[in-house]
Point group: C2
Chain length 411, copies 2
Amino acid sequence: MSSRAAARLARVAGHISASASSPSTTTSSSTSSTARRMAPTRKHKVAIIGSGNWGSAIAKILAENTTAHPHLFESEVRMWVFEEDYQLPSSHKGYDPSKHSQPRKLSSLINELHENVKYLPNIALPPNIVADPSILSAVKDASLLIFNVPHQFVSKICDQIHGHIVPYARAVSCIKGVDVSSDGISLFSDVIGRKLGIYCGALSGANIANEVAEEKFCETTIAYDPPGTLTPCPEEFPVIDHSLWKHLFHRPYFHVSMIHDVAGTSLGGALKNIIAIGAGFVDGMGWGDNAKAAIMRVGILEMRKFGLMFFDSCKSETFTEESCGVADLITSCAGGRNHKCAKLSVEQGRPIEEIEAEVLNGQKLQGTLTAMEVNEFLKARGKEKDFPLMTAVHKILIREASVEDIPHLLD
Amino acid sequence: MSSRAAARLARVAGHISASASSPSTTTSSSTSSTARRMAPTRKHKVAIIGSGNWGSAIAKILAENTTAHPHLFESEVRMWVFEEDYQLPSSHKGYDPSKHSQPRKLSSLINELHENVKYLPNIALPPNIVADPSILSAVKDASLLIFNVPHQFVSKICDQIHGHIVPYARAVSCIKGVDVSSDGISLFSDVIGRKLGIYCGALSGANIANEVAEEKFCETTIAYDPPGTLTPCPEEFPVIDHSLWKHLFHRPYFHVSMIHDVAGTSLGGALKNIIAIGAGFVDGMGWGDNAKAAIMRVGILEMRKFGLMFFDSCKSETFTEESCGVADLITSCAGGRNHKCAKLSVEQGRPIEEIEAEVLNGQKLQGTLTAMEVNEFLKARGKEKDFPLMTAVHKILIREASVEDIPHLLD
């Protein structure tokens, strides 16, 4: 056997062993054994693009794990910050009049105070997070790219960094939802992958940034299913597979489930908002927890039907079993803003737009927009009737049906 | 073809057609076409054994549907009442001092006032419900038997009516849960079927008796999967199949899903109480909706694993897709007493038994008992580790673990 073939064989063995082991129970032993078998001489460099409150919470996790798994990752996590000036409040415990009496660059405050004082205040960030206002500098040499920016910036950011990343980089998008119009549905992970000429998976789950940052227990789903046609990652690096991503994201308080269904993982985060509005309507009627549970159950099945009908790669269990499916829906129907506004709208007998304006302080409800976009998408394909709950929610929102009709519309 | 063979073929054709149609959209036409093809000359007589608040709510549904489908069912629904004396309060709108100044038999009050004044007050019952204090008279000639009694009475009631029912009768049990011990698990529907020498299916779902009685929208699951070896129902009767049961139970406000998995349908109603305690613990810690959703998601998967491991006939989707599974769990974790007591126990730092005594007014929590029984069952089979959440809940209840350990125990 050639030494090259032997190295390959050893690499496959390492891959299988790493995939089969759970990082939580066998972290250091599996990491070091993976390292030994594959004998990688280099480590992955991690960059996160985005530093809002979800971006910063994820950056904290990444930085904890690059420290926890030094055989796999370089310690430093570079975080791209959309630069802005920020005046540190004098009440801040790190406030020093000699340094902070004038507004300062947010990136320099983050690096000085190890806290994203504007978007994730009062959460200590690991010192191995380095805030970087230059997107090109932030992604330089990074083999693992995490995207966590508002979805409307994805395209422009990709244009900026295209050609400036290593060709063997792999990415994961933490951007919630999908882009729906009557023309079709596009996944943000697909946009990123296509624009950069790399592969991008997706992370989504029942996660609220602040709770994750406070290390309150929750779960998430990461879908990663790269084709075999990518620029290979050099053999000096640890293999980029499910096990590696789990080492990068899994924490004792943030449990990661790795799957292959990127479309299903992304769809849940959008479609659940329509169902949450339906659940809010029913709650507003005072029909009780069982009526609400019925709406949620029907909702899970319609979300799944949508995925299976329009994406060949979708899997049923992504919706019924994963955090990005059933759990995210449960959370959104328990305390989310879509649910809340829909409930108040029925209770007060007022249009949801009025409630939205009053309660959300200028922000827009995701669910009402998604309900309309999904309805346009379905209508263009003659499939409205296959999704009676989503269609009912839309019709109620545009005053073509009333909440009392829901049981009949689902019958 | 013999006329007997032709009749059988017509019957099979009727069966298929009836099964494929939904009663909600095609009620009268499918009923009459079923009737025409099979030319049944007799109708099913319906009896319900039990008249508590769930029994009375179900009796109301049955009586509404025997009226709605006169081709299939005799109008009268006979309801067995465990006789007792009851003093009608003078505030009752039907109170007549000449009749009600002394305690009266509950069955006669129900028949006079068309209301179960003791167990389901303020709900008008259809007049075709006839309360009957004699169990033998109640079940006489009934071909469809609905069981809705406290589970501890099942065995004795079956002994009483054995030999007094028609041999071609079929039954559905609305009794929640299963009977678990270290010896094994028995389904109440199996006990009923075996003791009576007939077949019994099971109804379970996200249902609260009072909400159903008030016609608030909800869903339920009925599992019915008879073997081919039963005493055949005479051909003069409409075929007893999924379609017939759906005609008997489905209402505009009570949506029925028919499945075959009796064990799965029954298990959900028991196991969910363990999960609801776990969700209550996490809520009590203030870990937020996402932690709770994570517990619920893990709980659904453990319930399913339990079903698939111990019952050959169990189906995955009964737990992840049906009202008796995911929806019933959602309801129990939202407002059920197991969740509530567990939450208060953590918030107040006191044993759940104390909270139970205080909050439930002498009633017992189902979940703590089921957690112990299921643990004994699992321990006897060396399977505790396969069910980390159920095992964690039990260990916390017996003070061998603390709620803080949950994320670690699930990792």
